[in-house]
Amino acid sequence: MAEQLYQRDVYGKTLVELGRQNKDIVVLDADLSSSTRTGLFAKEFPERFFNFGVAEQNMMASAAGLAACGKTVFVSTFAIFASGRAWDQVRNSICYNNFNVKIVATHAGISVGPDGASHQALEDIALMRVIPNMNIIVPCDGPQTADAVKAAAGNKGPFYIRLGRPKVPTLDKKDVFKFGQAQVLTEGNDIAIFACGIMVAEALIAVENLMKKGVKARLVNMHTLRPVDTKTILDAARDTRGIIACEEHTIIGGLASSIDEVVSESCPTRVIRLGIKNRFGQSGDPGDLLKEYKLTSLDIEKAALGLFSSRK
């Protein structure tokens, strides 16, 4: 059984580590520091932590002001508020200025579970992806969360890092994390599966089952959604019968769209989109919700077999 970690725990610990190394790191939160785990940083560096209360717009624009004075600002709240509530501040005060503001949004996707639709950000990648200068990372597990946070701290400009609420299994990855470069987790030329976030673990199970049925799937962990790794997408489009995109997000504007945009321009191929299809979420256990929204390993396997049996 693989190790299971909360991405948020890793985030909080990594922030403390970075805070010890760099005195210009400042952290902001909007009354969710115990959930996002920025509270760990607040405890060790109270002079560099500011709680903004339930006021995300002010928090985002203030982050811009801090960044204008040379700070590297990590800003956290739930993904629904980080991306939607304060979108104009993120666009005009952060991204337009190309400031060093790193938005680390937790509780993204349908796997938020019991809180229901109002708290399940299913559109956040789409909202962030359309803004110039924004970089986006959706890490697949605990250790990769640390990599993502360090990459955001070490690279100039705004970042959006999307984290989930539940524990996720730590996955075997033969390659080290490189910002902007997708990770090929399994080799295969029959079909390709691209996934991000918690969907990578689901996809990995599907790949193992497909292997038993004689289908060799190339599994790509698309942790960086901006800038998009066009080479890895085009390689898959050329080498396989088609691509399956798996994301805990609307099929409009997220991972699937990123792939569509690349292949339609340079190497048209079939792209099957597994994601949320024009629906809001609802309350429930994350496992039941993944079933309801057809995002389990079985759904991926079924789509893969369908794609494999179709003609190139």
Partner: protein, 273 residues
């Protein structure tokens, strides 16, 4: 507080020159916002030429005071003041709003002396709050000034920032409210009334200073008083006249966002001689 007549005269002369530049820039550009630029002119001129600790030859000086124009549509004023201080040559002013210009239709960091973009209203007080907190972290004594419009404070983000600046006791933060009483659709009291404006800011925990925003002595003494605030941010609530200095623009809502014609420009410049 005593300011010499000479100093007041000098600032009034500079403000008149800035007003001339604003009229010329906007007329040349063919679009822009003269009304609010002219109503804030005395406030911003006094700040840059007599209050602000800055060095146009060294715009990145870490100890500089910060200024941010949250009402970004009044950037012709900001540009005219920055060029008069020496941040960039005056001839650049006449490229306002043109393709490839340093001077965008709303503030942008490509302009020397501008630290943050603005234009989408209501965000600038938060930017100033962030700058104020940065000074605290770095143990620096610089001050932060933010110019806001009156219509602008209808934005909810302003009040989020007002609450937080008070909570964090940002005594180095000074907001300047250009209260000219007009917004695009008419008088603020008819569109969305701001009164009782002083009570609102006071109840949010701010040090409030009310002045005539066209009286240089009152302006200078307001900045001085704001500088002495302890444990709370200050706001200078400046009663102003939209379009101040050009008789046919004064209190005329239409000139919020309309450029003067060639003929109007000539008349305005004559009045500003």
């Amino acid at each position: 507080m005593n300011y010499t007549e000479e100093k007041i005269k000098d600032l009034e002369g500079k403000a008149k020159k800035i007003r001339r530049l604003i009229v010329q820039m906007i007329a040349k550009a063919g679009s822009g916002h003269p009304g609010g630029s002219l109503s804030s002119t005395d406030l911003v001129t006094a700040l840059f030429f007599s209050v602000l600790r800055h060095d146009p030859k060294n715009p990145g000086w870490p100890d500089r005071d910060r200024f941010h124009m949250s009402k970004g549509h009044c950037c012709p004023l900001w540009y005219a003041v920055l060029s008069s201080c020496g941040y960039f040559p005056e001839e650049k002013l006449m490229t306002l709003r043109q393709f490839g210009s340093l001077l965008q239709g709303h503030p942008d960091r490509r302009t020397p002396g501008i630290e943050s973009a603005s234009g989408s209203l209501g965000q600038g007080l938060s930017i100033g709050l962030g700058m104020s907190l940065a000074a605290r972290i770095d143990n620096k004594d610089y001050r932060v000034y933010v110019l806001t419009g009156d219509g602008e404070i209808q934005e909810g983000n302003i009040w989020e920032a007002a609450m937080a600046a008070s909570h964090y006791k940002c005594e180095n933060l000074c907001a300047i409210l250009d209260y000219n009483g007009f917004q695009i659709d008419g008088k603020t009291c008819n569109v969305m009334d701001l009164e009782p404006i002083v009570d609102k800011w006071r109840s949010f925990g701010w040090n409030t200073i009310e002045i005539d925003g066209h009286n240089m002595k009152e302006i200078l003494s307001a900045y001085e008083e704001a500088g002495k605030a302890k444990g709370r941010p200050s706001i200078i609530i400046a009663r102003t006249i939209k379009g101040k200095g050009v008789s046919f623009m004064e209190n005329i809502c239409d000139f919020h966002g309309r450029a003067p014609t060639k003929e109007e420009e000539g008349k305005a410049l004559k009045e500003l001689e």
